[in-house]
């Protein structure tokens, strides 16, 4: 393509140079395309669990029992009442941030740290907690419980 200039070094040396250029150039292109290709492939966890999260099997959550699951960076508690309803709340106690649990004997949500208690609507009914627990929406698809934040 270029006019051949006699001052250029011998064709052999020029093609070595071009070959090297192609080699390193290909390497640079690879160093760009490899991250792009990896980026395009969907990651193992397809989306951030911010708005909703799966909370396990619905069948295995028997009446009058509860289960604590992670929801984003904080824990959530899903409860099946004695009557069979599913309820879900934030599991972070509003007193000093301990993780609450379900007490089947009290049929209440209980915090072990300072004996705080919440009823099954999340309202703080006994002990130090100053505020109710945040409630989440519960849905069941194919035996999978899904919790989602209320907007």
């Amino acid at each position: 393509m270029h006019p051949v200039d006699p001052r250029i070094s011998a064709p052999g040396r020029r093609s070595v140079l071009n070959w090297l250029l192609g080699l390193w150039g290909g390497g640079v292109c690879g160093a760009v395309l490899y991250p792009v290709a990896r980026y395009l492939a969907p990651p193992d966890v397809p989306e951030a669990a911010t708005q909703s999260v799966l909370a396990g099997s619905a069948q295995s959550l028997v009446p009058n029992s509860g289960r604590v699951v992670p929801f984003g960076s904080r824990p959530a508690i899903v409860i099946r009442t004695a009557g069979g309803d599913l309820r879900a709340f934030s599991a972070t106690c509003t007193h000093l941030d301990c993780t609450v649990q379900y007490r089947p004997d009290l049929q209440r949500i209980w915090c072990a740290c300072h004996n705080g208690q919440y009823d099954l609507t999340g309202r703080n009914v006994a002990g130090p907690p100053p505020r109710p627990l945040e409630a989440f929406d519960v849905n069941v698809n194919d035996d999978q419980i899904a919790l989602s934040r209320r907007s």
Binding site: L40, A48, T50
Partner: protein, 361 residues
């Protein structure tokens, strides 16, 4: 040869042969100032990086107040090389603004705006304003504390404009205050409206550059009259192109290093009800305006000080836009342009320096 047949097939249908033929004969003036010619292409290269990394980010980003921050966190922690794509996008934005400003001032000082390149200059200044708009709209998208308050402060400045000020603010914010509606709106500007306008302007700008070729500064022209060796013709292919490629690859390495050693931070999620933290400021390229507004007295000759400052800046932008039509052709007027441009540059540098030193702990 197979490649020859393919080339023939394509040549019959597409004007590739014509384009390559034109480029083979294209030359670029080579003189003591021709280093500055590379800044235009550099800005274009960085714009291409922005489009590429931006498209990649779009695959995972969610433009709503409830999910934006978490989606960026997801990109940076869970998506393979997501940290790299995001940091390159953020760093490249800053480098692009710097490159565009360098390009504008080099064109100014080398008087490349003069006839017949007035429209090139016009489209160029508009492209610079567009670049700043890209920066402003993109800054909010991670929805973190710093960007939320910077957007609120930045859009507040528009309220100083009389009559239409409130309207401008409502237009920019999608409401009276910075909310999720602002995020969605600025996102729409950032990924659709601004790129569409920018594509048109870039196409026009490149077409005009191709039409008129590179401008030779008046001083070099004068010297060339006496000494022909002052200006030589550098073939575009391969001399200029390979040097361009060199600069672009170097900048690519710089971007990769910046992203690895100084990754862009996530910040804390924006909370509209929290009080503004101390030291809120916009990105560095807006700092000079921010600092100027801080030093303006509350009232100048009875008029609101902020309004006066905004008006002066707007007037400055207008002068910059219409420069080719305002500046004359004599050496004296060109000297005025150089001094005015130099003064503006020094002023902006000093204001930026003041703003940065004020925040340093």
């Amino acid at each position: 040869m197979r490649s020859g047949r393919i080339r023939g097939w394509l040549d019959e249908r597409l004007p590739i042969g014509d384009v390559i033929e034109t480029l083979r004969h294209k030359t670029v003036p080579h003189h003591r100032y021709s280093l500055w010619y590379y800044f235009g292409g550099m800005t274009l290269f960085l714009f291409g990086i922005q489009v590429g990394t931006g498209a990649l980010l779009l695959l995972y980003y969610r433009p709503s107040a409830a999910e934006a921050y978490e989606s960026v966190q997801f990109i940076v922690t869970r998506v393979p090389f997501g940290w790299l794509v995001r940091s390159i996008h953020a760093w490249s934005a800053n480098l692009m603004v710097a490159s565009a400003v360098a390009h504008l001032f080099s064109v100014l000082f080398l008087h490349a705006y003069r006839r017949p390149r007035e429209l090139t200059w016009l489209s160029g200044v508009l492209l610079l304003l567009l670049t700043l708009a890209f920066g402003f709209t993109g800054y909010l998208l991670p929805w973190n504390e710093v960007s939320f308050f910077a957007t609120r402060v930045g859009t507040d400045i528009a309220a100083a404009v009389p009559l239409i000020g409130r309207g401008i603010v409502r237009f920019m914010r999608g409401g009276d205050d910075v909310t999720g509606a602002t995020l969605t709106r600025l996102f729409g500007f950032h990924v659709a409206v601004l790129p569409a306008v920018a594509t048109g302007l870039v196409a026009l700008h490149l077409l005009l550059v191709q039409r008129h070729g590179m401008s030779v500064p008046p001083s070099v022209e004068r010297r060339a009259a006496g000494d022909p060796a002052a200006v030589r013709a550098m073939p575009f292919i391969p001399h200029f192109l390979l040097r361009d490629l060199f600069a672009w690859t170097l900048v690519l390495a710089v971007l990769a290093a910046l992203s690895t050693f100084y990754p862009w931070e996530l910040g804390t999620k924006a909370d509209p009800f929290a009080p503004a933290p101390a030291g809120i400021r916009p990105e560095w390229y807006f700092l000079w305006a921010f600092e100027t507004l801080k030093h303006v007295p509350p009232a100048v000759a009875g008029i609101n000080g902020e309004l006066v400052a905004v008006a002066v800046m707007a007037a400055g932008a207008l002068v910059a836009l219409l420069l080719p039509f305002l500046a004359g052709h004599t050496p004296r007027t060109r000297r005025v342009v150089v001094w005015a441009g130099g003064a503006a540059l020094v002023f902006m540098a000093i204001m930026t320096g003041l703003a940065l030193s004020a925040v340093a702990p």
